[in-house]
Each structure stands twice: as C-alpha cells, then as structure tokens.
C-alpha cells in the first residue's frame, strides 16, 4: 500500500506550491506502466488532504497509456504491462518511452482578482 505514502507526498508537494492558497483542483499524470494503482490514490486522497489547503479539492487523474520502442527494429508498440513483444520483429527488448509518468501536472487555486 505504497499509494498512501505517495499520496502524502503529492499533498505535501501541492501544499508547498499553493503557498497557503486554497487548492480547488489538482491534476496528476500517472503512467499505466508504473506500479501505482490510481484507485488507491483516489482512496487515500481525501484522507491525506484533511486539515491541509487541499481539503475538498477535486482530484483529476490523467492516465498515460504505455508506449515502447523496439530496440531491434524501432517499431512503436503500445503496452498494457511494463513488458511485451514487438509485433513487427518479435523482440522483447523494448525501451519504454511513455507510461512511467508519476507527476503533479498542475493545481487550480483560489486567487483574488481585484
């Protein structure tokens, strides 16, 4: 259940960026090939936000699909798991080029506009 620790990390980083402003929405990018289960992040999020500027914030989770490049023939292959077989040459030597993201993309905070 490392998602709890990771969600705490997310809340801490976001609170630092918000500089005291109330956070309305947070957008995360989670690659499908990371060992992170998005539902577990959602599950932990509300608990971790309690008593912080993120309390009540909306969680926007963008899942980035997995993509690899074959090291033998350079074909691009979409992946569901962090491994696979090249559909063109059959090699398993794949370089993952997308899907390992684990990133806070942006925050929407309350700001007073005069």
């Amino acid at each position: 259940m490392h998602e709890l620790g990771i969600t705490r990390n997310i809340v801490a980083i976001a609170a630092e960026y918000a500089q005291g402003a109330k956070v309305k929405r947070i957008t995360l990018e989670i690659g499908k090939l990371t060992a992170i289960f998005p539902d577990a992040i959602r599950f932990c999020f509300d608990v971790c936000c309690q008593g912080t500027v993120l309390e009540g914030a909306e969680l926007d989770l963008i899942e980035i699909p997995g993509l690899a490049c074959c090291r033998q023939c350079q074909a691009e292959i979409s992946l569901e798991m962090p491994y696979g077989i090249c559909h063109t040459c059959g090699s398993t030597d794949l370089a993952i080029i997308q899907g390992e993201e684990l990133k806070i993309k942006e925050l929407e905070v309350d700001a007073v506009c005069v």
Partner: protein
C-alpha cells in the same frame, strides 16, 4: 521552458506573437501547438471605460510539472555519488519474504571474507532478528525498521550509511523489506537491484511482479537444492524473466549447499572484488 506544455526553448522552435501573446511550438515530430500564457478571467472582464472595484475569487492555475518521487530520486542520486566516491558496490536486495535473502547474504559474507568487506543495511518492518544474524558473521550491520512502511527509501539509506560508515573499496548490501511491489519504485542510489526468488515460490513470479524484475539487473533463483521436491520449472521461470527484462543476469544457487554460488561471486568479482 514553456510552462504550459513543457516544451524546451532550446530544443525546439518557438515562435511568439507579441500582439496576441500567443506562441507556437513546432515539436520534433512536426506537431504545431499554439497557445498563450495570458491571464484568464473566467467570465468576468476588466473594462477601461467603466472602472469599478470588484474583488472576485477565481481559479488560477499553477503549473507544477513535478515528479512525485523527485525528492527520493535526488537523495538517491546523492547516495549514488557517495558510493562512487568511496568505490563501494551497493546492492539493493529485493524479494518476497522468505526467499532466503539473509541466508544468501550471510553465506556470501562468510565465503568472501578474505576478499572483500561487506557491510549490511537491514530493512524490516520490525525486529532486529536479521541484523543479529548478519552481526554473527562479524560484519558491520545497521537495522532499519520501517514500522508500517513497506519499503526502504533513499533518506533511510542515507541515515543508515552515516551510522554504518562502511570502508572504502567494499560492498554495501541493502536488504530491502520483503516485498516485490513498492521497492521497485524507490531508487536508493544502488549500483544494482538484485531480485531473489526461491523455488518454493511460483515460477511465474517475474511476470506476476514485472515492475520489480524489470527494474532489477540481477535475478537469483535460490534454494535449487529443493527442486526435486517442488513443481518449480527453472527454464520457464527464466523464460518469463527474459520476457520482462532481456538484460537480466541470472544465477541459480542454493545458499544452503553452496551450489551455483561461484558464478554469483564471479559476478561480484567483475566489480573488482
């Protein structure tokens, strides 16, 4: 760097129109992206003709673009430099509970004691049992109890190293918490992750826990002396492991009988030990 799309000014062409404040990026694949960085007012306007004082709370977007594990990765990079500066080979031993990590470690320490100093950082949720087993071999050991934590992180290792104070030109073995999921995510600054699995487990573990076997450089199949009594197919296990990670270095050993350990020691020897 453009904070909206993350594109880099020096790597890609950026064309900015000062009138509209809109700029265009041409990405390496030829995609053209146009956007502005102007302040949006979500439906309310500021007009010059009728100045009025109004305060309205509206949403402002802060671009963060920060890796969630950035802090750990930074500390891991510091640890890596620390090891390199002292010519220390750091191994992160990962496995399920009960695969024989500690037995393999104590055996390795004893067999190589005339060749190299091995110091150990022991990670467990609770107890100092493993540290005591290692201590009995006469080598330096520090126990880290993670409590409810399911993995070691770079900061714990950094603190452990200060306590351990390993000598120059040696090996530091970091025995991670028995867990094949979380430790895959947390770089500790090691030279290599060594995944250990025993023949009393399923031979499909490499594809059941692909993140770990993909992140590892070495796989050790332990307890091969028990092969006659279990339904573990070594060839199938290796085939699965190669599917996940074709570059894995694989050793088949028995830490109890010593079978196959020479190849493992030979691999350690390639680092100058």
């Amino acid at each position: 760097m453009c904070v909206t799309c993350g594109c880099s000014d020096d790597a890609q062409v950026t064309i900015t129109n000062p009138q509209t404040d809109e700029h265009t990026h041409i990405l390496s694949d030829g995609t053209v992206i146009s956007h502005s960085h102007s302040h949006e007012h979500n439906g309310h306007s500021h007009t010059e003709e009728a100045p009025q004082i109004h305060a309205q709370i509206h949403g402002t977007t802060i671009t963060v673009e920060q890796n969630i594990l950035a802090k750990n990765d930074l500390l891991a990079a510091q640890n890596r430099g620390w090891f390199r500066g002292r010519n220390i080979l750091a191994l992160n031993l990962v496995s399920s509970p009960g695969s024989g990590k500690t037995t393999l470690l104590t055996r390795t320490i004893q067999d190589l004691k005339d060749r190299v100093v091995i110091s150990v950082i022991e990670g467990d949720q609770a107890t100092a049992n493993d540290a005591n087993r290692i201590k009995a071999t006469g080598c330096k050991v520090v126990q880290i109890n993670t409590g409810t934590g399911c993995h070691l992180d770079a900061e714990m290792v950094e603190r452990g190293l200060q306590e351990l104070n390993p000598p120059l030109d040696s090996i530091v073995a970091i025995e991670n918490v028995g867990n094949l999921v979380c430790p895959a995510l947390f770089d500790l600054g090691e030279s290599a992750k060594v995944a250990i699995l025993s023949v009393t487990e399923g031979d499909d573990k490499p594809i059941k826990y692909p993140h770990m076997f993909r992140a590892s450089q070495v796989m050790i199949i332990n307890k091969i002396d028990l092969l006659p009594y279990v339904e573990f197919d070594c060839d199938r296990c290796i085939e699965y492991a190669r599917q996940v990670n074709p570059h894995l270095k694989i050793f088949q050993v028995s830490a109890t009988t010593g079978e196959g350990l020479d190849a493992w020691y030979h691999w350690l020897g390639d680092f100058g030990f």
